[in-house]
C-alpha cells in the first residue's frame, strides 16, 4: 500500500481540486483559458486519433497480411518512429519547413514566392507530427492482432462465399477492433499528455496552459484546476482503453504460425502499399533522423564541450537512478501481488500503475503541491520549535521530488514486464522446486532470478529510456539548473535554435532505439 502512495497522492490532490474548485480562479479560467484550450485539445486529440488509427491499421494490414516488395524491411522499420519523441519530430519539422528553413528557401529560390505554403506552426502541423510519431502504437497492436487471429476466420468467410478482400473487410477488421481501439486510446492519451510537440508548434493545449500557469503566472491553483480538467479527458481515454481491453479477445495463436501465407497484391496494389510504407517511414523517421544528424554535425564543433557532457551525465544519472528505483519497486509490488493478492492490494496496484496515463505536467503539479504544503507545515513546526534558527527546508526542486514524480508516471512501465514475467513462473514451478528441497532465498536465486532476468532487464531499459525522453516533469520539478538532454532540447527549441537542439535530440533518439530493438525482437517471435 505504502509503495503505491507516490502514485496515488497526485491523483488525490488533482481529484480534490476538481471536487472543490477555487471559485475565483475557476471563473477566470473558465472565461479566458478553458474554452480555447479545451477546443484545441479536443480537435487535436480527435484528429490525431483518427489519422494515426487509419494509418496504423492500414500499414499493419499491409505488412501482416499482404505481400509486397520490401515488406520484411518495413515490418520492423515502421516501428522505428517509436524511438523519436514527438517533440523531436516537431522541431525538426518546424526547422525544416518553417519560413527560414531550407524547404521554403528552396521554394523561394525556385518559384520566387513561398506564400502558398501553409503555415507549419499551426494546429494542422501539430496534428500531422503527432500522428506520424504516435501511429506505431496502433500499428503494433493491430499488427499483432492480425498476425495472431490467424487465417482460419478469413478462410471460413471464403468458404461462405466471400472473396478475400470482402473477407478482410467483413471479418479481419472487425475482429481486430478491440486492439485497434486500444491503440487509438493510447494515442489519445499520449496526445493529451504531449507537451513538447505542442509547445514547439505554439498550439495552446492543457499541458502548455498548465506549464504557463505554473511558471508564467505562478498560479499553483490555476495549474491545479487545469490539471483536474485535463484529467477528466484522460480518464475518458483510459476508460476507452480499459473497455476495449476488457472486450473479449479471441486470438487463437495456435494456428497463427502455420500458414503465414499472405495475399499477393496486384502490381498497382503492391506499388501503392510499398509507397505508403516507404513514405511513412521516410517522413516519420528517416528524413528527420538525417536532418538531425546533419544539424548535429554542423554544430558539434561548437557545442560539444564540458557543459554538454554535463547534460548527458545528468540525463544518465537521472534515468539510471529512476530505472533502479522504479524497477525495484515494481519487483516488490509484483511479489506482493503474487503472495498476498487481497482485493485491496491489487486495487491499489492497479490505481498506482494508472500513473502512466496521467500527463507529466499533471503529475508534476500533483506531486509538487503536496510537497510544498508538507514543507511549509514542517517548517512552521520547526520554527515554532527552534525559533528563527530553523534550517530552511528545500524539498521542492530536489531530485527526490523528480524521482517521486517519475515513480508515479512510470511505475506501470517498470511493473508490467516484471508482473507478466512472474506470472510465467507458475505456482507449480515453485512447488516443484520446494519438492526438490529448494526454497526461500535459494528458490529466488536459483529459480526466479534466472526466469525473471530478461523481464527485469526489459523493465529497466524501458524505464531508462522513458525517463531520458521525458520532458514536462523534468522541466517543472527539476532542481534549479539541473539541465538534462530533454530540457536542453526544450530550451533550444523554445528559442527557435533548431540546429542546436539537434545534438541532444539525436542522443535521445539513439537511446530510444534500444527498446524498439527489444520490441521488434519480441514481435518477430510472434511472427
Amino acid at each position: 500500500m505504502l509503495l503505491c502512495l507516490p502514485a496515488l497522492i497526485p491523483l488525490a490532490v488533482i481529484a480534490a481540486a476538481l471536487v472543490a474548485p477555487d471559485r475565483e480562479v475557476w471563473s477566470h479560467l473558465s472565461r479566458f483559458v478553458l474554452p480555447e484550450v479545451t477546443w484545441t485539445s479536443l480537435q487535436l486529440m480527435v484528429a490525431v486519433g483518427v489519422i494515426s488509427g487509419v494509418l496504423g491499421t492500414t500499414l499493419a494490414w499491409l505488412t501482416a497480411m499482404c505481400e509486397f516488395p520490401g515488406r520484411r524491411f518495413f515490418d520492423w522499420a515502421l516501428l522505428l518512429p517509436l524511438a523519436m519523441p514527438a517533440y523531436v519530430l516537431a522541431f525538426v519539422a518546424v526547422g525544416f519547413l518553417d519560413y527560414s528553413g531550407p524547404f521554403q528557401s528552396w521554394v523561394r529560390a525556385w518559384l520566387g514566392s513561398s506564400r502558398w505554403v501553409p503555415p507549419v506552426r499551426s494546429l494542422g502541423g501539430a496534428v500531422l507530427v503527432l500522428s506520424l510519431s504516435l501511429y506505431p502504437y496502433v500499428y503494433l497492436l493491430a499488427r499483432s492482432a492480425f498476425l495472431t487471429q490467424g487465417r482460419r476466420a478469413l478462410e471460413a468467410a471464403q468458404t461462405l462465399g466471400y472473396a478475400p478482400r470482402q473477407a478482410a473487410w467483413r471479418v479481419g477488421l472487425p475482429m481486430a477492433r478491440p486492439w485497434i481501439a486500444a491503440g487509438v486510446a493510447l494515442v489519445c492519451m499520449e496526445t493529451l499528455a504531449d507537451f513538447g510537440a505542442v509547445s514547439v508548434f505554439g498550439v495552446n493545449t492543457f499541458t502548455t496552459a498548465i506549464y504557463r500557469a505554473w511558471f508564467g503566472l505562478f498560479s499553483i491553483r490555476g495549474a491545479l484546476q487545469l490539471a483536474a480538467v485535463l484529467m477528466v479527458f484522460v480518464l475518458l481515454a483510459v476508460v476507452l482503453e480499459r473497455y476495449s481491453r476488457a472486450a473479449p479477445r479471441f486470438a487463437s495463436a495456435r494456428d497463427g504460425g502455420r500458414d503465414q501465407r499472405r495475399y499477393p497484391l496486384s502490381r498497382l496494389g503492391a506499388t501503392l502499399a510499398c509507397g505508403l510504407a516507404c513514405g511513412t517511414f521516410v517522413v516519420a523517421f528517416a528524413a528527420p533522423m538525417l536532418q538531425l544528424i546533419a544539424w548535429s554535425v554542423q554544430r558539434a564543433a561548437g557545442d560539444l564541450d564540458m557543459r554538454y557532457l554535463g547534460f548527458v551525465a545528468r540525463s544518465l544519472t537521472l534515468a539510471g537512478t529512476a530505472a533502479v528505483l522504479i524497477v525495484s519497486i515494481g519487483v516488490l509490488l509484483a511479489y506482493i501481488q503474487r503472495r498476498a493478492a487481497t482485493p485491496i492490494a491489487s486495487g491499489a496496484i492497479r490505481m498506482a500503475t494508472l500513473g502512466y496515463a496521467i500527463p507529466g505536467t499533471v503529475l508534476a503539479v500533483g506531486i509538487l503541491v503536496p510537497v510544498i504544503w508538507f514543507k511549509n507545515l514542517v517548517q512552521a513546526w520547526l520554527r515554532g520549535w527552534l525559533g528563527s534558527d530553523a534550517p530552511a527546508l528545500l524539498l521542492q526542486g530536489t531530485l527526490l521530488t523528480v524521482l517521486l514524480a517519475y515513480l508515479a508516471r512510470f511505475l506501470a512501465v517498470g511493473f508490467n514486464p516484471v508482473d507478466t514475467g512472474l506470472q510465467r513462473v507458475t505456482r507449480n514451478i515453485d512447488e516443484a522446486a520446494v519438492g526438490m528441497g529448494v526454497s526461500g532465498v535459494a528458490l529466488l536465486r536459483r529459480v526466479h532470478l534466472p526466469l525473471l532476468r530478461t523481464s527485469i532487464a526489459t523493465a529497466a531499459i524501458l524505464v531508462f529510456v522513458d525517463v531520458m525522453k521525458e520532458m514536462p516533469i523534468t522541466l517543472i520539478a527539476r532542481p534549479f539548473g539541473w539541465d538534462t538532454l530533454a530540457v536542453r532540447v526544450f530550451e533550444m527549441t523554445s528559442e527557435g535554435q533548431w540546429e542546436r537542439a539537434a545534438l541532444p535530440a539525436a542522443v535521445i533518439v539513439i537511446a530510444g532505439l534500444l527498446p524498439v530493438a527489444l520490441l521488434t525482437r519480441r514481435s518477430s517471435h510472434v511472427a
Partner: protein, 345 residues
Amino acid sequence: MWLELERISKSFGTCRAVDALSVQLPQGAIACLLGPSGCGKTTVLRCVAGFESVDHGEIRIQQRVLSQPGRSVPPQQRRIGMVFQDYALFPHLTVWDNVAFGLHALPVGMRAERTAQMLEAVGLHEQRRRYPHELSGGQQQRVALARALAPQPELLLLDEPFSSLDVELRQRLSVEVRNLLKGLNTTALLVTHDQEEAFAVADLVGVMREGRLEQWDSPYDLYHRPATRFVADFVGEGVFVRGTVIEANAVQTPIGLIRAAAHRQWPAGSSVDLLLRPDDVIHDDASELRAEICQRAFRGAEFLYTLRMPDGTQLLSLVPSHHDHSLGERIGIRIEPDHMVAFAT
C-alpha cells in the same frame, strides 16, 4: 459419382504431403480420411476446399472440375462448406449473425427463414443472441456446423471436428452430426486421427499414410479385413503371430494350429504374420490351451489381458470383466478368428 479426387498430389518444398490419392464419393455419403498426424489428410481437405492448389490430378464435383494443375476455382466459388478444427467462428458476431453470414446472396426474408431453420436443426435457437465465447464447446461446434450448412453447400468438409471436445461429448455429438447430415442428405468428407470418431460418423473410411491412401472401405472391413499391415496396426488392437500356411484356411503357429475363413489364397508353405485381434482370443476354462496373465487393463465392461504363451508369444484378449484374474494366473483360452488376416513376412 458426386465427388471425385483423381490421383491428386501436393508437395510443399521437398515434402510430398499428398501422393497420387484417388477417392470417389457418392451423393449423400459421409466419408472420413483417417490417419496419424502429418499423414497429409488435412492437406487433402484444404485442396478440396480450394485453399491449396494441386500439383497433379483433378478434383471434381458432379463432373465440374474444381482443381487442376495451374487452374483452381477460388474457395468462395466452390459451394463447399467447411467446419474448422477450432471452428473459426466470428467472435464479433452473434450466433444468429454467424449462421446468416454465408446467406448474403439471399433476399432478407429468406435469409432469416433459413437461419432460423438451421438454428432449429442444431437446437440453438434459444442461444441465437449470444456470442460465440458465451457458448460451450459443443454449442460452438454446432454453430460452426449450422453456419457451414446454411448456404446448402454441395459438399461439407470437417477438419477434426470433435478433437477439442471431451470424450463423452465427442461420442454424443458424432452421432448427432451423423444424424443431421443424413437427415439433410449432405455429402460430407471429414478428417480425423481418432478411429472411434471415424467409425461413428462415416460410411466410408480411408486410411492414409505418408500422403498415400492405404485402404478405402467400410469401417467393418477396415477392422476385419485390413488390406495392409499398416491398416491392421493402426485400426484397432491386435498382435501378429508368425506362422506357416498349411492349407487355405489353416496356419500352423508356435501356439498351435489356427483355422479361420480365408479371403485370400496363400500357397501352402508360405510364411505369414497372422493378425489376432483381442476378440479373437476367447477366455475358456475348459480349453487345454493355457496362458499366463502378464498385464491387465480394466475397461469397465471388460478386461484387456496381455497373455504370455508357454513359448513366449504374447497375445491380447478381451474378457468380460466378471472374469477377474490376477497377474501371473494361468487361464484357458481358445483362438477363434472369424477371418484369416495375414501378411507375408
